[in-house]
């Protein structure tokens, strides 16, 4: 097993609607937890990387401001962005900084305070993560883009609305028990009943996607502390190693997408690269976090990651194979659908979940059998950026 760069500390704020504080205070919540988890002080940290989607931030160039608030000056700091996968990209950058020998310990902090703008404004900004010159003038937004994939996929592969609901029912099973999740209410099939005014999740957003098929905006922060092998062994009793990192990009405009029935090309590309680097296959993964910004996205992720053959992702939901006790547990922390999706913090939160699972510290969400290898799949935009990171217990 590759033991070059390890995660030695993880932290996450609660994901909430309307965080009662500023971005620096929000960042502090995840940072404090990760530093206490690692058992280190700021003197041990050589550099920091901050990650968010900047269109939500009123603060220009937040890295310097947050680094000061967290006590991380005068060490070098900067900002990276890949929309919803910003903090996975941050971890890739941190890994590279350590692997190159520039630094030994790097803090990667993802944050997003989405609540400073209205939901419609937020949708417009998210739409601007797609093609603003040629698509936004038609009134696009994130659910509509993913609905284009859902429509073509459902028509070809016989995926049903009940299958999509199945993804949400699974996510809510774990959202209920995740104290950090924004959506903690239990979800039942009746909540999706068409034509029932009491069915809160049934209404169309961008057909075929309904309210219950979409993740919730949230405010939140996440923090991942990375270290080289020497520091990891001296500072940490429970390092979790980065075994593989893959990333890919795709054309922004829908007119340049090759095949809507196949899912996101970046999911396939990033996964292939990460498996190759780790020297493993999908069969070696014991627990995974995938980017379920919409229910359809989780089904497509199963296939991109090789958990199911093309067109057969629905079987994993029908057989409950991706529940905690199933053969391939996925998003057993509630995923983006129930835990919430504070853009810049999401990747770091997914990584935290996998690190806790590999350490056996995931509490009521712990996958049985002592998982030793876990995977994080984190998408930016509508498959504009794809990131897959594989972790292993030492």
């Amino acid at each position: 097993m590759k033991k070059d760069v390890a995660v030695i500390g993880v932290g996450q704020s609660s994901f909430v609607r309307g965080y009662e504080g500023s971005i620096r205070e929000l960042a502090f919540e995840a940072f404090r937890e990760a530093m206490q988890d690692a058992g280190i002080t700021q003197k041990d940290v050589d550099a920091s990387v901050f990650c968010s989607a900047p269109e939500y931030d009123k603060q220009r160039s937040p890295a310097g401001v947050l680094a000061e608030y967290l006590g991380l000056i005068p060490q070098p700091t900067f900002y990276v962005e890949s929309v919803c996968s910003s903090s996975s990209t941050g971890v890739k950058v941190g890994y590279s900084m350590i692997k190159s020998g520039l630094h030994d310990v790097v803090v990667v902090l993802g944050f997003q305070k989405m609540s400073e703008i209205t939901s419609a404004e937020s949708q417009e900004r998210m739409g601007r993560g797609a093609d603003i010159q040629w698509e936004a003038p038609f009134g696009t937004m994130m659910p509509a883009y993913y609905a284009l994939y859902a429509q073509a996929y459902m028509a070809k592969h016989g995926l049903t609305h009940d299958d999509l609901m199945g993804v949400r029912l699974k996510s809510s099973t774990y959202g209920v028990i995740n104290e950090r999740a924004v959506y903690r209410k239990a979800v039942k099939p009746g909540d999706f009943k068409q034509g029932d005014p009491e069915a809160k999740l049934a209404g169309p957003v961008a057909w075929p996607l309904r309210v219950g098929d979409c993740c919730a905006n949230a405010d939140g922060s996440s923090c991942i502390i990375l270290a080289d092998a020497k520091k990891a062994k001296s500072l940490s009793k429970k390092p979790v190693w980065i075994l593989g990192i893959g990333a890919a990009s795709e054309a922004v405009n829908m007119a340049a997408r090759p095949d809507f029935t196949k899912g996101l090309s970046v999911g396939y590309g990033a996964a292939a690269e990460a498996y190759r680097m780790a020297g493993i296959t999908s069969k070696d993964i014991k627990v995974a976090e995938v980017h379920d910004c919409f229910t359809i996205a989780e089904i497509m992720a199963y296939e991109g990651l090789g958990f199911a053959p093309a067109g057969e992702g629905k079987q994993l939901i029908r057989e409950k194979a991706t529940y905690k006790d199933g053969k391939m547990p996925v998003n057993v922390d509630g995923g983006l659908l129930s835990k919430g999706h504070p853009i810049g913090a999401t990747g770091g939160s997914q990584i935290r979940t996998i690190v806790l699972q590999l350490r056996g510290e995931a509490g009521p969400m712990q996958v049985p059998g002592g998982p030793d290898i876990g995977l994080v799949h984190n998408i930016g935009g509508v498959g504009l950026y794809g990131n897959v990171t594989i972790f292993g217990r030492g």
Binding site: E121, E135, F138, G139, A144, Y149, R257
Partner: protein, 137 residues
């Protein structure tokens, strides 16, 4: 200047492909084709990343294609609140050319199917904004 007239609401004012809007006013939906290597682009590009040429011609897009996928939006972003519901989709013309646009209002929702024959045509909003739309083939 000129590109602010494109679509329901444009987020881009200045682009070297602004002539696209003039073609819409003439009733044509045009893409660009590289004068040096022949690569065709829709949406239009001013520069060819295949051969680094900056010299482009315009060509008229095929009129007939198949609807590859679609969605009906029941909520709209800031600035588009008066429009829902509206349907958007991707048309495949074959030969690597595709296009994204709204579907014409006159098409009934239950008539819209993946794979159906469609045509594209220029479209003018009440406020004279210029666009193009997908209609029944």
């Amino acid at each position: 200047m000129g590109f602010e007239k494109f679509g329901r609401k444009s987020f881009t004012a200045v682009t070297k492909t602004a002539k696209f809007v003039d073609f819409l006013a003439e009733g044509k939906v045009e893409g660009t084709v590289c004068k040096d290597c022949g690569a065709r682009f829709f949406p239009p590009r001013a520069d060819c990343a295949k051969c680094f040429s900056k010299s482009m011609d315009w060509f008229e897009m095929p009129k007939k294609g198949k609807l590859e996928t679609f969605t009906t939006a029941y909520y709209a972003p800031f600035g588009f609140e008066a429009d829902p519901p509206y349907t958007m989709g991707v048309v495949d013309f074959g030969g690597g050319l595709k296009l994204f646009a709204r579907l014409a209002k006159e098409i009934k929702p239950d008539e819209i199917k993946v794979g159906m024959d469609v045509i594209i045509r220029p479209f003018k909003y009440d406020d004279n904004q210029l666009s193009f739309e997908i209609a029944k083939g």
